[in-house]
């Protein structure tokens, strides 16, 4: 993926650029809002990582300007402004995701991967498949090897999110936000509990485990082998 990192703090920028390159992405860096606009107009990027607070032109304005020009590149806001209002404003301005500093690098990688492959599922597609696991989005049914698996509505949502990001790592925070609409960190192992219940239904009794735990990062659903 070709990524543009818009970040004025040199150390943070170096950290992100290096990390993303290690992940195999092509990364360019803009240190100001104006530079970002210039680069975004010139180069075809797959993803923008934008800091909110920038000199001259702030991140919100940069994204608004880009969006006003009809550009649909995914945008990830990266910022120290962690209030819920800030998050809402960021998403309203045209951001696709929002990550609050300080962050774990694994979290950034997971979110970048999730965004970069969007849209993973065409809107018309009504069936999600991972190996022999099948989810019918219209019937709201899940089968594995043709055997029906009964899921609670929230379990269904959890599995759907995992399957829409099949093959990618999704973090605890991503799940909390997307599945339970929790924009805070719970102090009990809510995610672990629900994942283990889902596993019990989806994986137990079958020859291969589809839901994997990625140590230090999160979870992923992927075909074995």
């Amino acid at each position: 993926m070709k990524i543009l990192v818009v970040e004025d703090d040199q150390e943070t920028a170096r950290y992100i650029v290096r990390g993303m390159r290690e992940q195999g992405h092509v990364v360019e860096h803009a240190a100001s809002g104006k530079e970002a606009l210039f680069l975004a107009a010139a180069g075809a990027y797959d993803l923008l990582i934008v800091d909110r607070m920038l000199p001259e032109l702030d991140g919100l304005s940069v994204v608004k300007t880009i969006r006003a020009g009809g550009v649909q590149i995914p945008v990830l806001f990266l910022t120290a402004l962690g209030g819920i209002d800030d998050r809402v404003r960021g998403l309203e301005a045209g951001g696709d995701d929002y990550l609050v500093k300080p962050f774990a690098f694994a979290e950034l990688v997971a979110r970048v991967n999730a965004l970069g492959r969007r849209p993973p599922v065409p809107a018309a597609q009504t069936v999600l498949r991972v190996a022999d696991l099948e989810m019918d989005l219209l019937q709201r049914t899940v089968t594995r090897k043709g055997r029906l698996i009964e899921l609670q509505p929230k379990e269904f949502r959890l599995l759907e999110y995992l399957m829409r990001h099949a093959g990618q790592v999704v973090t605890r925070t991503m799940l909390l936000e997307a599945v339970w609409d929790f924009h805070f960190d719970p102090r009990t192992n809510v995610v672990e509990t629900h994942i283990s219940r889902l596993r019990a239904k989806v994986d137990r009794g079958f020859d291969a485990e589809l839901i994997a735990t990625v140590r230090g990062a999160g979870y992923a659903i992927r075909a074995p082998g």
Partner: protein, 455 residues
């Protein structure tokens, strides 16, 4: 106090305005009285003159000129006729009787000068008031005139004007003196308030504005300012407390972090040793970041800027969702969560914050209760409104600690072993406060019952 100050006070200006208004109304009142009296008296005078003219004209018709002459002469001798003047003249303007100057008068009303040496020429009046006279022509060229001195009218007018002058003057003096006195009293109180506020500004933060105890405007103003000062002092105290708490509470994890890194430097021998140390250090740093995020979040909620994001929401749904999400969590901890939510209860609020408030309470109950504990989550519309409860049969919180647990970083001695920041209930309190929810802790015999009374 400088006397010039009085004239600059609002109350004195107000007094002046009232004095002006009062003077204007006194003037109008007197003008009305004056015109009414003058018009009535003039009317009376005219009526008397016309009656006399009619009597004498009748005399003429019955007895001829001689009879009129006699009648006039007779009248002139009567003292009660003072102020009445007559003229009876023949066709050659020759006066036959009376004291008014003979002339070829036209018919109708005339103003005539008082004849010199007339019987009641009052000495004190240098210039005599004119006589108002009616002239009529009789048969045969005779002319009859009856006049009445306007002396009395003039006099009455002068009395009224004089009285008005006095009343006006007294009114003005009273208003000005009264205004000055009231303003001086008012100014003294304002100056006391000003002096006190200057002292408060200079750092004597415990001082409060004096009140007289009558509950008047200035007292109400002083009350308002005093309450504001109380609140500011409370907030400042809170801020100082938070500052101290943060410094104190973060020193522990920071020193722990430092110790870990230090011991890793001196004792770690292999890559896995270092990895473990780094892992621990990151976890410690994450906990600190967590604490900071919670503090920021509480501060943001307390600043009330989020009220703008309020919308109508299904509170029952929030309770049911939290119940559904946490029932498996409780089960995994070998505890049980029982949920009883009355559906369809809607309130105005912030869904994210209410969810977090409820999650904090449920997680508190789970984390501080023993294995096998039973936690109950309820929401119902009762006789005194919408009430949510989170109850457990765990160790509970002693009555004496009920108020303290909402303070930042406050932790019960018994819960120090459980991981946590001591900010969970502070956040609950902040969210509840934002939503006007009354949070009450009760003894659940055994355990703790948190009662949320929604507005």
């Amino acid at each position: 106090m400088h006397p010039g100050k009085i004239f600059r006070t609002a109350s004195f200006r107000l007094t002046l305005l009232y004095a002006g208004l009062f003077a204007a109304s006194v003037t109008v009142l007197f003008a009305i009285i004056y015109w009414t009296i003058a018009a009535t008296m003039a009317q009376q005078l005219d009526t008397a003159v016309e009656a006399e003219v009619a009597v004498l004209a009748d005399e003429f018709r019955r007895g001829g000129p001689a009879s009129v002459t006699a009648a006039i002469r007779r009248r002139s001798t009567l003292p009660k006729r003072a102020g009445t003047f007559y003229l009876f003249q023949d066709q050659h303007a020759l006066r036959l009787a009376g004291d008014l100057p003979p002339r070829q008068w036209r018919d109708g009303w005339h103003e005539m000068a008082t004849p010199a040496g007339s019987h009641d020429a009052e000495g004190e009046h240098g210039d005599e008031a004119p006589i108002r006279a009616k002239v009529i022509r009789l048969q045969g060229g005779y002319l009859l005139a009856v006049g009445q001195s306007t002396d009395r009218l003039q006099e009455t007018r002068e009395i009224v004007i004089g009285a008005f002058g006095w009343a006006f003057g007294v009114t003005l003096v009273l208003a000005l003196v009264g205004g000055a006195v009231i303003s001086a009293a008012f100014l003294r109180r304002v100056e006391t308030i000003e002096r006190t506020s200057r002292q408060i500004m200079d750092g004597e933060l415990n001082l409060r504005l004096p009140r007289r105890g009558t509950g008047d405007e200035l007292d109400r103003l002083a009350d308002g300012v005093n309450r504001m000062l109380d609140r500011i002092q409370e907030l400042m105290g809170g801020l100082r407390q938070v500052g101290n708490d943060i410094a104190h509470d973060l020193r522990t994890p920071l020193s722990r972090l430092r110790q870990r890194l230090e011991s890793a430097r001196s004792t770690a021998k292999s890559v896995p040793d270092y990895e473990a140390a780094v892992e621990e250090a990151i976890a410690e740093a994450d906990r600190m970041i967590d604490t900071f995020s919670s503090l920021l979040r509480i501060a943001q909620i307390e600043s009330r800027s989020r009220r703008s994001g309020f919308a109508e929401l299904d509170l029952s749904q929030v309770f049911a969702d939290v119940g559904e999400i946490y029932a498996p969590v409780a089960e995994d901890r070998a505890q049980s969560l029982h949920v009883a939510v009355q559906p369809g209860i809607r309130i105005l609020g912030d869904r994210d914050l209410l969810t977090q408030m409820l999650v904090n309470l449920v997680e508190n109950a789970l984390r501080h209760s023993q294995t096998g504990a039973r936690i109950e989550l309820r929401l119902e519309r009762g006789p005194d409104g919408v009430v949510g409860t989170v109850a457990d049969n765990g160790p509970g919180v002693p009555e004496s600690e009920h108020a303290k647990v909402f303070q930042r970083f406050y932790r019960l001695d018994t819960s120090r072993s459980t991981p946590g920041s001591g900010l969970g209930l502070s956040l609950v309190a902040a969210v509840a406060d934002l939503h006007g929810v009354a949070v009450e802790l009760r003894d659940n015999h055994p355990g703790l019952l948190v009662r949320l009374k929604f507005p």
